[in-house]
């Protein structure tokens, strides 16, 4: 103890409202760092002046300030609080009191995560806090969403945040973490918060903290839910009537025949009849209507023959269209999840153990995600001066992951195919009398749209494929083993000086097995293909931390951290393939005999850093913090490997000042500001794969007629070094009227300079790009988070929350040699303008002949697509995004609803563009959007429509132009939960402390400018050729013993 008032010994207990003791609660003498934690039975003793105030806090409970008022014994009951983790937040290399934190961090509470029925926690982040943007390009269960914190700061380097689990960077699959194990999730957004992570923190850091024991009596929770998945985003509004479709096909052929060949409408009808069942001239290849011989399918009036009936028998087969979508989707799709945990603590041990099982079958069979997860976390106070612990988790995931479900134009992509196929094609092969045929193996016979199955027709769209058959007979499975462990030991050396050693070992391995069946489809020609791959990733993270905290003269609180960290990562990959399968059910190489191929390789990565951090506060009112890190990465050449990063920050709690102390309405008013510098070494190849040796010229070895051949495959640059981001953050945190209105407003400005960038090279030199550090980009904006406890009584609580992020992206500088502008295909990068800007031809509408026209630079229009000029579209990034929601609890019933939104941006609608084709030979057989019904027709006035003519040789009608840019605004109901907790007076009789029944719906509805459009896919383009997002509606039961 330092100089001060006379101390006396005070003892007491801390308990929860149910009377159970809270172990590990912090009891601090206000204004000092003197404090203790409660031991077993929730007891504590400490010395404090008689007039002191004690602050008692524990995660999950509201803190309380208790005046000692001369007493020597205090019994404290802490109320549970959903906001309680606001008090202590997990930050880099430790925890801090929220009020003492000078940086910017958002904490996402366990409730917000637990509500969401996601198989990957990244999918739960949409709309929950400001500054975090979530996009998802693949709805396959378990797939990571793309999380971006405060915008995109890099051109060619990764924009992915760093994930840290319980203090140590995490390298396993995010989907291997059971969301039920997560206590809180802290998003570190500014440099003051994350600069200490140096090399790896430039894109923000997401700290995941797993649960721990809270009460001395063991608590057992059981949670079970069952539900069903369905497709959350509908199909585009396409033509569904076969007759109407055939009329449009006829319209395209007829317009061409009349305008180009000078045919009369009658001749055109004959021309259609002659070509419509071929695969050229816009024909669809299939006949599915029966009509009297000698008549034509489409009349001279352009209408379907009134005598035509659906279904046509040709030889042994009946040709009848199927609704592929209805046949293939929304069947079964069970989702079930079970979690059991047991946790507790005593004065020496704190433990949490869990078991989880999740079975998410997605929305297409063969795409399921099954996870078994286990975790054991324990801390043990071995000696008075030694504490150690471990957190070990193992997950086994089996992910059936059909290939190509995100590739546009792939015949294996069920989403693409069902979204694009004309409503005239049969899915099944039908016998003449109408029954679906079976083959000699007993398999359902699907129509492949070619003659390989004995059919007389060839489909013009995606001939030779039928994903339903592939689905039934092909296999693609990832089996992951994710072992993730954290170990630590803390030694109290001397009066507030502590040494901690942290070790993290993450082993993530998968085995991928894929089989293309030998019976049908492309690979039947080679007797089927088997492919097996193994990957093993080992990450070893070590930290040595020396920590000192102390208080001087009662009011000077200081906390110092000095540390060293190394990170070693190794990935090994082995794969093999063979063709010609013996047994179609065994996905192993030895089951096939020809075209053997194999390859293997290993990559290595290493980083090392030294760092220090100082936090100082005066009297709990004025806070200053600083951090510094010197980091090295193996991705750079020896001479450019080390970088220096750091931050400074300050905050001032005005509400503790005397001049505001009388303001009853004011709970908290804090202003803060920070500045910091961070690094990024994660240069990616143009394909998005990580490049571990970007400084080096890289060669690949290949075989030429039995000899070695080495060719330059990657042009390196040994001068490249860290991409650096400089972040400014300034904000206000406030709480008024006992939390009726609380929140924060922050301004941020992140400038990335020396950007890791693939400098375009004149391709004539023999390579197209080389890496360099050049240019800078700024992301700036304002974030607002508001929370309100509108109403709180013993039995009724109503809260509202909303957040908003305004984001602006601007390229400050490009390389000198580019002259301020770089055009890369449909993107344009210009100094002073947003990185998110397209460079497109500009649609000028329909001319008097019904043709598409595009603008030239002089303002006139041309029908020649290739000659039309391109124009910048302006910034298409959404200006504002965020979320809002409300929760209501009354008499045991809880209800919540959460929304996410984005406003002010545009997106290129790829699928719509594809659905507005002209009926050419290359697009015939694919469907049309209903907007095509407004297409220009012969006889239409100029200017009567903005949809160009259907015309079998107008190949550029729907080519890329600003015609297909559309607002990316959306409103997304992300979750609705309704629960009922039975009165504990009833449940206690059967020794259940809590029983809650609930219903939850995830991904409930998405409102966008156009049906089918999902602007959550990316910032620039969207298309329905991706595994669609899943809506899940479940019922569940939650039991606590």
């Amino acid at each position: 103890m330092f100089v001060g008032a006379q101390n006396r010994q005070i003892s007491g207990t801390v308990a929860n409202p149910e009377g159970q003791p809270i172990v590990g609660a912090t009891v601090v003498v206000d204004g000092t760092s003197a404090g203790t934690t409660t031991g077993s039975n929730g007891k504590f003793t400490l010395a404090a002046p008689a007039d002191a105030t004690l602050t008692v806090s524990f995660i999950g409970y509201q803190s309380q300030q208790i005046p000692v008022a001369g007493k020597t014994s205090l019994d404290v009951v802490l109320a549970e609080d959903t906001q309680a983790i606001d008090d202590v937040i997990v930050v880099a290399y430790g925890t801090t009191k929220k009020e003492a934190f000078t940086g910017s961090a958002s904490v996402i509470k366990t409730d917000d995560i637990a509500k969401r029925q996601v198989s990957n926690v990244t999918n739960a982040l949409s709309g929950v806090t400001s500054g975090v943007q979530v996009t998802s390009t693949n709805g396959q269960p378990g797939t990571d969403a793309t999380v971006r914190i405060r915008g995109i700061g890099s051109f060619s380097a990764s924009n992915k945040p760093l994930y840290v689990v319980d203090g140590v960077p995490y390298d396993g699959q995010i989907s291997s973490i059971n969301t039920a194990d997560i206590e809180s999730l802290t998003v570190l957004k500014d440099a003051a918060a994350s600069a200490i992570y140096g090399a790896r923190g430039a894109n923000g850091v997401i700290l995941i903290t797993t649960k721990r024991g809270k009460s001395s009596e063991a608590v057992i929770t059981v949670d079970a839910k069952w539900g069903s998945n369905s497709r959350a985003v509908p199909q585009y509004d396409v033509i569904t009537d076969p007759g109407q479709y055939m009329e449009l096909v006829g319209q395209s052929m007829s317009t061409y025949a009349q305008l180009l060949r000078g045919f009369t409408p009658e001749q055109a009808a004959q021309y259609i009849e002659k070509n419509v069942y071929t695969n050229s001239a816009g024909g669809v290849g299939y006949r599915v209507f029966d009509y009297p011989e000698g008549e034509t399918l489409i009349g001279a009036d352009g209408k379907l023959n009134p005598n035509a009936t659906l279904g046509y028998v040709n030889g042994d087969y009946l040709f009848l269209p199927d609704n592929w979508y209805d046949e293939l989707f929304d069947k079964g799709n069970l989702r079930q999840e079970y979690n059991v945990s047991i946790s507790g603590n005593s004065d020496k041990i704190n433990y949490y153990a869990s078991l989880g099982y999740l079975d998410d079958s997605g929305i297409m069979s063969n795409s399921g995600f099954t996870r078994y997860s286990t975790r054991l976390k324990a801390d043990y106070q071995a000696k008075k001066w030694l504490k150690f612990g471990a957190n070990v988790s193992y997950s086994n995931v089996e992910n059936n992951n059909p290939t190509n479900q995100t590739s546009s134009g792939s015949s294996a992509n069920i989403f693409y195919l069902t979204g694009m196929i004309a409503p005239i094609y049969p899915l099944y092969i039908r016998n003449a009398e109408g029954s679906v045929a079976k083959d000699s193996h007993g398999y359902t016979m699907y129509d492949f749209g070619d003659t390989s199955t004995g059919m007389p027709y060839k489909r013009t769209f995606m001939s030779g494929s039928n994903p339903a058959s592939m689905w039934e007979l092909d296999k693609a499975t990832y089996t992951y083993d994710d072992f993730s462990s954290r170990y630590y030991a803390t030694v109290d050396i001397y009066k507030g000086l502590k040494f901690t050693y942290n070790l993290g070992v993450d082993l993530s391995a998968y085995r991928y097995q894929r089989l293309y069946n030998p019976y049908y489809g492309q690979y039947s020609k080679v007797g089927g293909v088997i492919y097996v791959a193994n990957k093993r990733e080992l990450a070893l993270n070590q930290q040595q931390l020396l920590n000192y905290s102390g208080t001087f003269a009662d009011k000077h609180n200081i906390d110092i951290l000095v540390g060293h960290e190394t990170y070693k990562w190794k990935r090994s990959y082995l794969q093999g393939g063979r063709e010609k399968i013996f047994n179609p059910n065994v996905v192993e190489l030895n089951n096939a005999i020809s075209q053997q191929s194999n390859d293997s390789y290993t990559d290595n990565y290493f980083t090392e850093g030294y760092f220090a951090q100082v936090n100082y506060d005066f009297d709990g009112k004025y806070f200053i913090s600083g951090s510094y890190r010197r980091d090295a990465s193996s991705r750079f050449h020896k001479d450019h490997r080390w970088g220096d990063f750091g931050s400074v920050g300050a905050s001032w709690i005005l509400s503790k000042e005397n001049f505001l102390s009388g303001a009853e309405w004011l709970d908290l008013l804090k202003i803060k500001a920070s500045y910091g510098v961070q690094g990024n070494d994660n240069l990616l190849y143009q394909t998005g794969e990580t490049n571990y040796y970007p400084y080096a010229d890289q060669y690949t070895l290949s075989q030429l007629d039995g000899s070695f051949a080495t060719a330059l495959s990657y042009k390196g640059n040994k001068d490249i070094t860290w991409e650096t981001s400089h972040s400014i953050n300034a904000g206000v945190e406030f709480s008024f009227w006992q939390g009726r209105l609380a929140g924060n407003v922050e301004y941020f400005n992140r400038r990335t300079s020396d950007m890791l960038y693939y400098m375009p090279s004149p391709n004539s030199i023999g390579y197209a790009y080389y890496p360099t550090n050049v240019g800078s980009v700024r992301n700036s904006g304002v974030e607002i988070d508001l929370n309100s406890t509108v109403f709180r009584t013993k039995n009724v609580t109503w809260t509202l929350n909303a957040n908003l992020t305004y984001l602006k992206n601007k390229i400050i500088k490009l390389d000198e040699s580019l002259g301020g502008e770089w055009i890369d295909g449909s993107r344009i990068y210009r100094e002073g303008e947003s990185m998110y800007q397209l460079y497109l031809r500009k649609y000028a509408g329909v001319n008097e002949n019904g043709q598409s026209t595009w603008y030239l630079a002089d303002g006139s229009a041309t029908t020649e697509y290739a000659q039309a000029d391109r124009f910048t579209t302006g910034d298409i990034l959404p200006k504002v995004y965020g979320g809002f929601g409300t929760t209501l609890e009354f008499f045991g019933i809880d209800f919540s609803i959460a929304f996410a939104y984005q406003l002010g941006g545009k997106v290129y609608d790829n699928t719509y563009a594809s659905l507005m084709h002209a009926g050419t030979a290359q697009t015939a057989g694919s469907n049309w959007h209903k907007d095509i019904l407004r297409a220009w027709k012969i006889g239409d006035e100029a200017g009567s429509t903005d949809v160009p003519r259907l015309y079998t040789s107008d190949t550029n009608t729907n080519s890329m132009s600003d015609r297909f840019l559309i607002s990316s605004n959306y409103l997304d109901i992300t979750n609705i939960t309704l629960g009922y907790t039975l009165p504990s007076s009833w449940t206690r009789k059967v020794h259940i402390s809590k029983l809650r029944l609930y219903m939850a719906a995830d991904n409930v509805a998405l409102f966008t400018k156009r049906q089918g459009l999902d602007p959550r896919q990316s910032y620039t383009a969207a298309g329905s050729y991706r595994y669609a997002p899943i809506r899940t509606i479940s019922g569940g039961i939650n039991l606590t013993f």
Binding site: G409, K458, F499, E608, T687, D705, P762, I765, Y767, T955
Partner: protein, 538 residues
């Protein structure tokens, strides 16, 4: 006591701090190798240096060579043979389906002439990448070297560089004669830095030819007479120079070089081409891509030349999805006595296949049923090529490991005939004699050349070139060189891609990709022409 424990803990921590700094020097193992790793091996095993030279040829059959640059996979990205397919698709001799399965559909409809076309990007990079590899070898081995193996390497690189320039100059500008002073493509000196390449204007057509002739002159002087199949030797260099001189209408030199090139090679005999062939390096080939079963292009399954060009493959786009056919009018001009009439299959009035070179008794078992070749899948359209045999002549072979011809002695004989017939020092009669001798001996015993003027003789040779070299990437160069129109109307081209274009139409030259002109603004571009319209004529 406990102080000791604490000290042990701290010492352990300090040890961990000190132990790891060497680990920062990481290296790839297997996937790629760094320059340093490669150098270390060359120091230990100098004979492995040849691997750098062989990259000249491996780059011609590289799978997905531009994937990383382009930022995505393009399934025509399988090497120089894809450039050949693109070039043949522009003209009038090789119609194919106008469908989304045809990876060369935008070659066939000529919409690839834009600054952002992926096909245009591919062609530019395919040729300049190989040129860059050649420059590396040339820069490494000085002309003054006296080491014979090194000089051989230099010679190969010089000839390959000439091959690339000769392709480039014919693609990005009209032919030499009459366009000598127009802009062709940038010349990249072997010492050129990236910064210099950023300000590197297009050289004129004449300047590019000057470079080609100077490279080939040196290559011929230092290359050995023979070498390993698939690698460039002195004969290939002569053959390349014969092509260049023919283009420049230096007929005497073209004749002499073609004679030198042809020495020691024997054309395919009538018997040899009475069945699907041209799938393995043999006595007629001066140069070609030699493919092994384990090359990536083969393991890819269908991302390779035979998948498109060989109608007998067990795994490909042809037949059925985008077969490669001959122009029906061209076909009708082939005499029945010519063995090459059997290089394409037709159907008779009863719908039966007519293809004398195809063994119709071949049957295969597919999906449990026996199919005769004539009933096979989508062998629907007539004029389907049966010129290119399946790998190992095994019908329905799913392994697409056929070798790819780049220069055959037959072409050298045709150059001799044309050059002799047009030379001031020769005559049409002498040219006809060479032509008749070749065709009668090797293709059509009853052939006579009826040409009575230079113009008719040019067309007679051109006709022989069109059918002999069909599908081997030469037809477009001939259209450009001979200033011929492109006539597709009234043939078996699908109506959506049928048109007639005049000689030297504005759409003919390729557009340089903006990836080049953006960074190298000194490199101007060709004007973008309107894409041809269905039914268009002139």
């Amino acid at each position: 006591m406990k102080t000791i424990y604490k000290l042990i803990a701290i010492a352990f921590g300090a040890l961990a701090v000190a132990a790891c700094s060497d680990d920062l020097d990481t290296r790839p193992e297997g996937d790629t190798m760094t320059e340093d790793q490669k150098k270390e091996i060359y120091e230990q095993n100098p004979e492995k240096l040849e691997a750098d030279v062989l990259s000249l040829y491996s780059s011609m059959i590289e799978l997905l060579a531009i994937e990383d640059w382009y930022g995505g996979q393009l399934h025509f990205d399988f090497g120089y043979a894809a450039v050949m397919l693109m070039m043949d698709s522009w003209g009038q001799d090789m119609p194919s389906e106008d469908s989304s399965y045809n990876w060369f559909a935008s070659s066939q409809d000529m919409t690839d002439r834009t600054q952002t076309s992926p096909l245009g990007y591919f062609i530019w990079n395919n040729l300049y990448k190989q040129l860059g590899l050649a420059n590396q070898v040339i820069a490494t081995v000085p002309a003054e070297s006296e080491d014979a193996p090194s000089l051989n390497f230099r010679g190969q690189a010089l000839a390959v560089r000439a091959f690339d320039y000769l392709n480039l100059v014919q693609l990005y500008q009209y032919t030499y004669v009459g366009h000598e002073n127009e802009l062709a493509v940038p010349i990249i000196a072997e010492t050129m830095t990236n910064d210099e390449a950023k300000n590197n204007p297009r050289a004129t057509v004449a300047e590019v030819y000057e470079q080609i002739l100077s490279d080939l002159k040196e290559a011929i002087a230092i290359l050995p007479e023979t070498g390993v199949s698939g690698q460039v030797n002195r004969k290939v260099a002569y053959g390349l120079r014969a092509r260049a001189h023919l283009l420049m209408q230096n007929y005497d030199q073209a004749y002499d070089d073609a004679v030198e090139a042809a020495k020691g090679y024997l054309p395919y005999s009538i018997a040899e081409v009475s069945k699907p062939s041209f799938n393995a390096f043999n006595h007629a080939w001066l140069w070609g891509n030699v493919i092994s079963e384990t090359n990536d292009v083969v393991l890819s399954g269908i991302v390779n030349f035979p998948a498109h060009m060989c109608s007998f493959t067990g795994n490909g786009y042809s037949p059925g999805y985008s077969g490669r056919y001959i122009n029906s009018q061209l076909y009708s001009r082939i005499p029945d006595t010519d063995v090459r009439k059997g290089w394409w299959a037709t159907v008779d009035e009863d719908g039966q296949w007519v293809a004398p070179n195809v063994d119709w008794t071949w049957a295969i078992t597919y999906n449990g049923s026996a199919y005769n070749i004539a009933e096979w899948e989508d062998w629907q359209a007539p004029y389907l090529n049966v010129k290119f045999g399946a790998y190992n002549d095994l019908y329905d072979n799913a392994t697409n490991a056929c070798d790819i011809p780049l220069m055959r002695v037959e072409e050298m004989l045709l150059i001799q005939a044309e050059a002799k017939g047009l030379s001031q020092n020769g005559s049409v009669a002498e040219g006809k004699a060479i032509l008749e001798s070749f065709v009668q001996t090797y293709r059509d015993p009853s052939y006579t050349c009826t040409a009575s003027s230079k113009e008719e003789f040019i067309d007679a040779v051109w006709f022989q070139r069109r059918i002999e070299l069909w599908g081997e990437g030469q037809s477009w160069f001939d259209i450009m060189r001979l200033k011929k129109p492109v006539h597709r109307l009234g043939t078996n081209f699908e109506s959506t891609v049928a048109w007639n274009l005049p000689a030297e139409a504005s759409i003919f030259p390729l557009i340089i990709p903006e990836a080049e002109t953006n960074v190298n603004p000194a490199c101007t571009n060709n004007p973008i022409a309107a894409a041809p319209q269905a039914g268009q004529t002139y």
